[in-house]
């Protein structure tokens, strides 16, 4: 089975950044309904900054170092809610594969689980509160479930499927965290923007994995 090195991680971040650019206005519109209308903008600012820094400073670094650099860059470019959430997620991702110059499929499952845990820790949120946790948490469980013997493609596909289902499920939830928590029933019927973008990120990872000669 193929492994992923630093350059692969850079390419993956690039794919995510490109996807976010395409979805920017859509994500902002989702946030307009139940939040402050900027989620596409915050994600775009963050991943554009990451993409730029990695293009210049990533060569020769390990996957862990790249995650750490991405975390710091994302945090300081964005702030907002997603800055600390994704920065913590990416720091945990880096810690999960610390020291390795190549990571395998099982490591990727650990990375997804570490990211979910980081987000839950930073946001003090649990599943069911209509946040990105509702995508990341089931994705992590699915990735860990497929981990034993699973290919990169299987693991990331399982995570993406679970993430998508989790994001869709936020539509029927009342929010317990974030700006929409003050809307009560008014938020019901609308998908959480942070969960939607999380599902898109997981989907981009899975697609990217499926396009690689495995």
């Amino acid at each position: 089975m193929a492994t992923l090195n630093g350059a692969d991680f850079v390419a993956l971040f690039q794919a995510i950044a490109q996807m976010i650019e395409r979805e920017r206005d859509h994500l902002s519109a989702l946030d307009g309904v139940i939040g402050d209308g900027d989620h596409g903008v915050t994600m775009s600012i963050g991943f554009q900054a990451v993409d730029k820094v990695l293009a210049n400073e990533a060569s020769g670094r390990t996957p862990a170092d790249i995650c750490m650099l991405a975390a710091k860059t994302f945090l300081n470019a964005v702030g907002a809610s997603v800055g600390p959430l994704y920065a913590t997620a990416l720091m945990r991702a880096g810690a999960a594969v610390k020291g390795k110059s190549d990571v395998g499929a099982e490591d990727v499952a650990d990375i997804i689980a570490a990211m979910a845990a980081g987000i839950e820790h930073r946001g003090k949120a649990e599943p069911g509160q209509k946040t990105m946790v509702d995508a990341w948490h089931p994705a992590a469980e699915a990735a860990l479930g497929a981990k034993a013997g699973g290919s990169l493609k299987d693991i990331t596909a399982a995570a993406a499927d679970a993430g998508r289902a989790g994001a869709e499920a936020t539509g029927s939830m009342v929010a317990g965290k974030g700006r929409s928590a003050n809307l009560g029933d008014r938020a019901v019927g609308h998908i959480d923007p942070g969960a939607a973008s999380a599902a898109m990120i997981l989907d981009t990872i899975a697609q990217w994995a499926s396009e690689r000669a495995d």
Partner: protein, 337 residues
């Protein structure tokens, strides 16, 4: 249906809007403000921080001007950490602010209770502890529209809460005293607002929510997020009454009490309408035998170009009156003396 035309704004590259604004602010107010050497989004009072004084650092997203940066100056905040539009600043500018504001007696972080701000400032607090700077946080939660106390947001009433805390710091009170006063000022401040039209971000230039031609958002935050509910737009007096009823229910004032008043424009609502609201507000206060110590009417805490307003009552006692009257001299606000 063709897409609605974009909202017109005077901008260059919208991604540079915040930094260009800060440049323009520093050029306009060189006697009051300087940029921190450590971070370009950390704006420091020229005559604020000094040894032995508790530092007051405020901050939050941009788009609320004159909040936060306009309230930096002697007698009020020592520094403001500036985020992107409607986005909490990351930890770095907050850290740079805290270092500049620190007089060795500790630093108060004060900002509105929003998930993003809490996470970023808490990360800053953790990192400052490694540099032996103690930062304590006092969240502002003056928005009475929200029933759940823990979820109450900081909105325009920040103005009075920061003012009291800034005066306490300027009077060289102890860290514990400054923190106590900040919490007390927050508990004494009651705000509720209504939105008539949505605002639009520099990057999108589309209204952030939809609102019917005869509707208003009631109890909204200051980031263009929808309010706790929609209602029919009514006369100025009826809207004022609705807000005042809610504030009175929350604050339960006694006859003979004294308050300070803020009638705040969310951006596009002109002074004429605010003063019409202030007229009714004063009738209501008089009916309850509440006297007004001081009033501010104008755009103090805005949501870009949103049309709408909020009313804040700041319940006074001897201590808070003294702090409110304490002089301050900021880039965009002067009071006292």
């Amino acid at each position: 249906m063709s897409p609605a035309p974009k909202v017109k704004k005077l901008l260059n590259d919208p991604d540079n809007a915040v930094d260009e604004m800060l440049e323009g602010i520093l050029l306009a107010h060189p006697d009051h403000l300087v940029m921190s050497d450590e971070h370009h989004r950390a704006i420091i009072a020229k005559h604020g921080p000094r040894p032995g004084k508790v530092g007051l650092v405020i901050g939050g997203g941009s788009g609320h001007e004159p909040t936060f940066v306009g309230f930096v100056g002697r007698g009020l905040a020592d520094a403001a950490a500036i985020g992107n539009v409607f986005a909490s600043p990351p930890p770095d500018p907050a850290i740079a602010c805290a270092k500049a504001a620190s007089g060795g007696e500790g630093v108060l972080f004060m900002y509105g209770n929003y998930a993003g701000d809490v996470m970023n400032f808490d990360m800053a607090t953790e990192m400052l502890a490694m540099d032996d700077i103690e930062a304590r946080t006092v969240l502002t939660t003056d928005d009475v529209a929200v029933e759940n106390l823990e979820r109450r947001r900081g909105v325009a009433g920040n103005f009075f809460i920061f003012k009291a805390a800034g005066a306490a710091c300027d009077k060289m009170l102890s860290f514990d005293e400054c923190e106590r006063i900040a919490r007390k000022a927050n508990a004494h401040t009651f705000t509720m607002g209504v939105g008539l039209t949505a605002c639009s971000l520099p990057q999108t230039r589309v209204p952030s929510f939809e609102l019917g031609p005869e509707e208003m958002e009631i109890g909204l935050g200051i980031h263009g997020e929808p309010g706790v509910r929609k209602g029919p737009l009514d006369t100025a007096d009826a809207v004022t009454d609705e807000i005042v009823d809610k504030i009175f229910a929350e604050m339960d004032p006694e006859p003979g009490e004294e308050v300070a008043v803020l009638v705040n424009s969310l951006g596009a609502t002109p002074l004429m309408e605010l003063y019409i609201v202030n007229r009714r507000l004063n009738q209501r206060l008089k009916d309850r035998d509440i006297s007004v110590h001081a009033s501010w009417v104008g755009p103090y805490c805005t949501s870009l170009d949103m049309s709408g307003m909020s009313i804040t009552l700041h319940r006074l006692d001897g201590e808070l009156t003294g702090l409110l009257d304490h002089p301050c001299d900021c880039a965009m606000f002067r009071a006292g003396q």
